[in-house]
Symmetry: C2
Subunit: 195 residues, 2 copies
C-alpha cells in the first residue's frame, strides 16, 4: 500500500479548487444571511462539494468561518498602506478603510470568530493563534505608518496609543452602534496625535 | 374549548422554574466549555427539561444564549455604581469591574451575541434591539456618574468621550488581547478626563 500518494495540495489541484469553492460559498452565504443563517449543508450545496469533505477538512463550521475570515483579513492587509506624506492623513484614510471593513458582514464575522477563539484559548490554541496573528499583522501595518512618519521627522505616538485612541473606538462603534453619540474622527485623530 | 387557560407565567410557576433551570445550565456550560462547546441537547440534559421545550421557547440556541447574556448583563448593571466622591476614582473602579466582566466567559458570550445580533439587524430586529438596550443601559450608568460629578462641580467629559477613550480600549483588549502592548489605565484616565 506504500505506493498510494498523499493527497496533492498544489495550486490548481483538486484540494485547492475545493478550498476556493468552499470559501466563495461561505463569503456569499455570510453576505446574504449573516454568520448564523446557514449550515454546513448549505455551504456544501452552494460549493458543489460533499458535506463530509467540509467536515473532514475543517472539522466544524466555526473553524471554516474562522478560516474564511482570516483569509479575507489577509487579503485586506495586502492592500497598499496609505502613504500621503502626512501621518494624520494616512491614519484618516486607514481609519475610513477599517470602518468600511468592520461594517461589512465578513468584518463582523471575523470579530465573532476572534471572540469565539478567545473564549477557547485554553482548549483550542490553534484558533487562538490565528487571531493573535491577525491582530499582530494589523498592528505591524500601523507600526509601518508610524515608522515612516518618524523617518520624515514627524512627531509620532506609540503603537499602543494608536490602538487605544484610534482603533478601539472604531471597533466599539462597529459592535454597539452609535446610540445617541457620534463618532468624531477629527477629535479622535487630534487625541491620537496629541504631543 | 374556550375554557382552556393560557399557560401561566407567574413567578415560581413551571415556566419560571424551567427558565431558571435552563439559564443556569447555559451559564454552567459556557463556563465549562465556552460558547461553541455545547448543543441544545446538552442544555436540556443539564437543566432536566425536554429539548423541544427549549426550541419552542427560544427558537434557536443562539437566541437562548443571547437571552442569558442579556440577563447576566442586567444583573451586573444592578450592582451599585461606584460613588467615591471623585470621578476619576469612580471611573477607575468601574473600569476594573468591566475588565473583570469582559474577561469572564459570559462577558465574551455577550459580546459574541452582540455582534451576531448586529449582523442580523436587517432580519431580526428583536435581537438587535436587545443589544441596543444593553448598550444604552450601560451608557446610562456612565452618564449617572458624570452627572454626579458635574453636580459636585467637577470638570466632566462628555459621554461620547468616555465611550471612546475609556470604554473602547477595554473592549479592544478584551477581544484581541494585549500583544506586545500594555493597557495603561492611568494614562487612559488622564486622557479621558483631560480638559
Amino acid at each position: 500500500m506504500s505506493d498510494i500518494s498523499p493527497p496533492r495540495r498544489r495550486p490548481g489541484g483538486r484540494t485547492a479548487r475545493v478550498g476556493a469553492a468552499v470559501h466563495e460559498a461561505v463569503r456569499a452565504l455570510i453576505e446574504e444571511r449573516g454568520r448564523d443563517g446557514f449550515t454546513g449543508r448549505d455551504v456544501a450545496e452552494r460549493a458543489g462539494v460533499n458535506e463530509a469533505t467540509i467536515y473532514r477538512r475543517w472539522g466544524t463550521l466555526d473553524n471554516l468561518v474562522l478560516d474564511v475570515a482570516v483569509a479575507v483579513a489577509k487579503l485586506n492587509q495586502e492592500q497598499p498602506l496609505p502613504d500621503t506624506g502626512s501621518l494624520r492623513r494616512d491614519l484618516l484614510l486607514w481609519a475610513e478603510r477599517m470602518t468600511t471593513e468592520l461594517g461589512a458582514p465578513e468584518g463582523l464575522s471575523l470579530l465573532q470568530a476572534a471572540i469565539a477563539a478567545r473564549a477557547h484559548t485554553a482548549t483550542d490554541s490553534d484558533r487562538a493563534r490565528q487571531i493573535t496573528d491577525i491582530a499582530a499583522a494589523r498592528a505591524d501595518l500601523i507600526q509601518q505608518m508610524l515608522d515612516r512618519a518618524r523617518t520624515r521627522g514627524e512627531h509620532t505616538p506609540t503603537l499602543s496609543r494608536v490602538l487605544d485612541r484610534l482603533v478601539a473606538p472604531l471597533y466599539l462603534r462597529a459592535i454597539f452602534g452609535y446610540g445617541r453619540t457620534e463618532l468624531d474622527l477629527d477629535d479622535i485623530l487630534d487625541n491620537t496625535l496629541a504631543e
